[in-house]
Symmetry: C2
Subunit: 149 residues, 2 copies
DNA sequence: TTCATAATCGGAATGATTCCTACTTATAGG
DNA sequence: CCTATAAGTAGGAATCATTCCGATTATGAA
């Protein structure tokens, strides 16, 4: 369920990959990356802003969006949109299913071989899948436990 | 791939179900439903407004949203959100995969037994899936053909 | 240390959606 | 057929996440 790598490793890999690509490593970026690597709840832009401001109180929302955009374009994070809440960002870019709890809002990853459909889709329809987005909305174990069953 | 029923049947079923539930059948509603039943491209609210205005030029955006909301709450349509475009509405409420063409923007339905993951998710994580959203983003047959391969 | 330019900041603009209020109309019952 | 009334509609204002813009700042290469 969890990422294979430790947060620190993810963070370091990302930073050196950005350096290689010629991006400037500002304190703002380092902090945003640190949070993305550690926060497993798939934070939104505002969550990230709040969190970064604990360290860098003057960071602006523009910078958060600018950085998220850059990371997205480089394929380091995934952006997810939902029905009734802001976009969320996921550092796990491998194909997986997101389990979205409709009670507490937490999103967890479910790794699995999710490629089984891909082939039959292409064979039957001619549509060529490039990327996917699979989600289940429901009640997580935690929330189910709390309300009896 | 296509719905099992004819557009006219879907339309009539929906209308009589609304009547049974005590909803008023205004011309605006009839027209919105007519479009949803016939338009297989999963139109957005603005598409629907434009289309309805050909018949009812004075219909407002509020009415479109109000009606879509009502249909959504009653479970007659599904609302879909995407990365870079407005919400889209789907009269196919059964579980299926949406194939989103990133070239032309068309969305088609892929019916299939998409419940295979549901059980293992619950077994392995304790998360109880209620509804799902599976999407592939890629190139549809039409667009692939146009560009050589 | 200097410099070019990418990154940051703050605020304004955007655009889909929601909300609000007054007006209109579909339906049920007389 | 008429009327009452609650539901529906229109139009515009408000909201809010996101994008855009111009001015300022600071990273990293020379």
């Amino acid at each position: 369920m969890k990422s294979e790598q430790k947060p620190q490793d993810i963070e370091q890999t990302l930073i050196s990959r950005l350096r290689d690509k010629g991006y400037k490593l500002t304190p703002q970026r380092r902090e945003i990356i640190r949070i993305l690597a550690r926060d497993e709840s798939h934070p939104g832009a505002m969550d990230i802003l709040r969190e970064v401001r604990k360290i860098l109180p003057r960071i602006s929302m523009s910078t958060v969006y600018y950085t998220l955009d850059m990371l997205k374009k480089e394929g380091f994070i995934k952006e997810l949109e939902f029905y009734d809440t802001e976009n969320r960002y996921d550092i796990n870019v491998s194909d997986h299913i997101n389990l979205v709890c409709t009670t507490c809002g937490k999103i967890t990853d479910f790794m699995s071989d999710v490629h089984s459909f891909s082939e039959s889709v292409e064979k039957e329809t001619g549509f060529r899948p490039a990327r996917m987005r699979f989600e289940y909305y429901g009640i997580c174990r935690n929330c189910a436990g709390r309300n009896g069953r």
